[in-house]
């Protein structure tokens, strides 16, 4: 320590896939700054898209993330279709919901079992957890596999799907290609209910934050691909008004832009807890009954319980996927034709980690002239920093290693991305003291 200052650093985190870090600055025992240090070079996707054809956009934006490529494809496609004036058919719409169900399943199952659950048992990894809970981890891996199978059938491959087109799908799957998934999906729905009960039995820190939840909201369904942007403070806007209410700004300690509400200091929270808080009545009957049983009917403000919300959304996704497949007939045509025209469109969808906003402008040749992408992880950054500051009093008395571990867990509540979580390990601690240097004891 020096001048009553203490700095705790956790090195390594990211925007969507890569690495970033964390710094806590403490003066006289009080936290003065909690910074999410995102130091990975900007990936510059918005610039990369300029000049590319709008048909390439979903395949390029999919590359932003290996675990939620569908979210990037869906937000880009909906934005482009709005700009083009393309109206998709109900059959295409429902197939896109099924595709999104597949992504929520594989992403949530991975996070619940291999990334988040280990934190509740003092395990350093999913492999370590699997030694304690082999049957549960096997169950999680199998659920993830079935999510990937949905993606593979609809998207042509399980990661970075290639069958997703502006206007629809390049090819709609045959009826039997999807219906043969039903036995596994029915097993998985039961497995996801068991998952929710399992995670609800974990021991959770008694921590709650006064979150402002933000999510898409639709009256007749649990919002995934469309809806109005709502917040728990009463915001209720169309997606094309997003940039009038939300802004991205540069923080000196981060190469990723940080999302904020215009005119408000308070950060906001995206993701499963926000979705559940704002869309509880839109849950399907089975997940809703489960959520009632698990005590989630009033908004849950404990970030550690995001794992329960994620499990409930697993049930939601499996249940909806089953219904869609049971009633499936291939949409004809699988893709709506359109003419290139100058245009602009914005859209938001619910990525597993929260609301993902895209806006594009394009010329009459179908070339992009402007692209803006606001990912959920960047929007959650300020909230993560706020959580870490709020966490400080309850962990301050611990040694640095324990503090660093507590901070990592607080970040993992957000499911920032697999590479974020798994690389969030190296810890550097820089202690400074007000005492003369020759009186500084070992830290």
């Amino acid at each position: 320590m020096a001048n009553g200052e203490r700095t705790i650093r956790v090195e390594t985190l990211t925007r969507v896939e890569g690495e970033g870090g964390l710094t806590l600055r403490i003066r006289d025992g009080q936290i003065t700054a909690a910074e999410l240090n995102i130091y990975e070079p900007p990936r510059l996707f918005e610039s990369l898209l300029r000049g590319r054809s709008l048909e390439e956009t979903p395949d390029i934006t999919a590359r932003i993330c290996g675990i939620c490529p569908v979210a990037y494809q869906m937000s880009s496609i909906h934005a482009l279709e709005k700009g083009l004036g393309v109206e998709i058919t109900p059959g295409i719409r429902v197939l896109r919901r099924l595709l999104y169900c597949g992504e929520w399943i594989e992403s949530h199952a991975l996070h619940v079992y291999l990334l988040h659950a280990p934190d509740f048992f003092g395990c350093a990894s999913g492999v370590e957890l699997a030694r304690q809970f082999p049957a549960e981890v096997k169950r999680g891996l199998r659920m993830k596999k079935h999510g990937n199978q949905v993606l593979e059938i609809l998207g042509g491959r399980p990661i970075h799907p290639i069958n997703i087109a502006v206007g629809g799908f390049y090819r709609a799957p045959k009826h039997e290609e999807l219906t043969r998934l039903l036995p596994d999906l029915r097993w998985a729905r039961d497995a996801s209910i068991a998952t929710a009960h399992w995670v609800a039995g974990f021991t959770f820190p008694a921590i709650e934050h006064d979150y402002e939840f933000v999510a898409l909201h639709a009256e007749n369904e649990y919002a995934m691909n469309e809806g109005r942007v709502r917040s728990s403070s009463g915001l209720d806007i169309a997606v094309n008004e997003f940039e009038q209410c939300f802004v991205e700004s540069q923080a000196a300690h981060s190469t990723a832009l940080q999302g904020a509400r215009i005119g408000r200091d308070k950060p906001y929270l995206l993701g499963p807890l926000a979705r559940l808080a704002l869309n509880y009545d839109q849950l399907r009957p089975i997940p809703k009954q489960l959520a009632d049983e698990l005590g989630l009917s009033s908004p849950c403000r404990n970030p550690y319980k995001a794992i329960i919300a994620r499990a409930v959304e697993l049930v939601q996704a499996f249940d909806e996927a089953i219904e869609i497949i049971e009633n499936y007939s291939p949409p004809r045509p699988a893709r709506i034709a359109y003419e290139h025209t100058t245009g602009e469109g914005a859209a938001a969808t619910e990525a597993p980690r929260g609301l993902l906003y895209h806006r594009y402008q394009f010329d009459s040749n179908g070339k992009l002239t402007f692209a803006k992408i606001v990912p959920p992880t960047s929007q959650n950054q300020r909230q993560i920093e706020h959580d870490l500051s709020a966490l400080w009093p309850s962990i301050a008395a611990n040694d640095d290693q324990t503090i660093a571990e507590c901070c990592e867990k607080a970040v993992r509540n957000y499911d920032p991305c697999i590479s974020c979580s798994t690389h969030f390990l190296r810890v550097n601690i820089d202690r400074q003291s007000a005492l003369p240097s020759d009186e500084v004891g070992p830290s």
């Binding site: 896939e17 290996g66 991975l110 699997a130 981890v137 096997k138 891996l141 590479s419």
Partner: protein, 156 residues
């Protein structure tokens, strides 16, 4: 007699196809009779977890870089530390090493695991398999099918 599961790891990119190529060659050599090893192609190490039941002899074939000249073949036996270097964990993917550890933890551990690594030189999109790698693939397929026939004779 323990069953054998032979899995080619790869992608459609240049010499990274070699794992899949060996599986194609083995399919042609060994056919699909009873007693034929389970042959499969996988894109990622986590894919082969789905193919394991536990207790089988697992053979993985994968492309690699940095072991030697193009087409060089090396056979590693789990838990050789060099297996840590194969398809290291990146982004959202498990490494071969992690996948084998996870298999062990969930009771799907193979009775043995050997990893055949074939040195590649070109991994670009749309690149074909290079000549030395094609030759190596044929050698590995020949050796694996000979091993299979020898084992079958022993147990006949």
């Amino acid at each position: 007699m323990s069953s054998t599961c032979i899995i080619g790891l790869g992608s459609p990119y240049g010499d990274d196809q070699v794992g899949w190529k060996v599986i194609d060659l083995l399919c042609a050599r060994l056919g699909t009779d009873d007693g034929t090893p389970k042959l499969a192609k996988a894109a990622t190490p986590s894919n082969f977890l789905d193919l394991l039941e536990g207790g089988e002899r697992l053979v993985l074939i994968d492309a690699c870089q940095g072991l030697g000249p193009p087409g060089e073949i090396r056979c590693l036996t789990w838990p050789d530390s060099q297996i840590r270097q194969i398809r290291p964990a990146a982004g959202h993917l498990l490494s071969v090493h992690d996948a084998l550890r996870l298999a062990e933890a969930i009771g799907k551990s193979p009775i043995s695991c050997e990893v055949w690594c074939i040195e590649g030189i070109q991994f670009e999109v749309d690149a074909p398999l290079s000549e030395p790698v094609i030759v190596a693939a044929e050698k590995v397929a020949l050796e694996l099918s000979a091993k299979h026939h020898a084992r079958s004779k022993c147990h006949a």
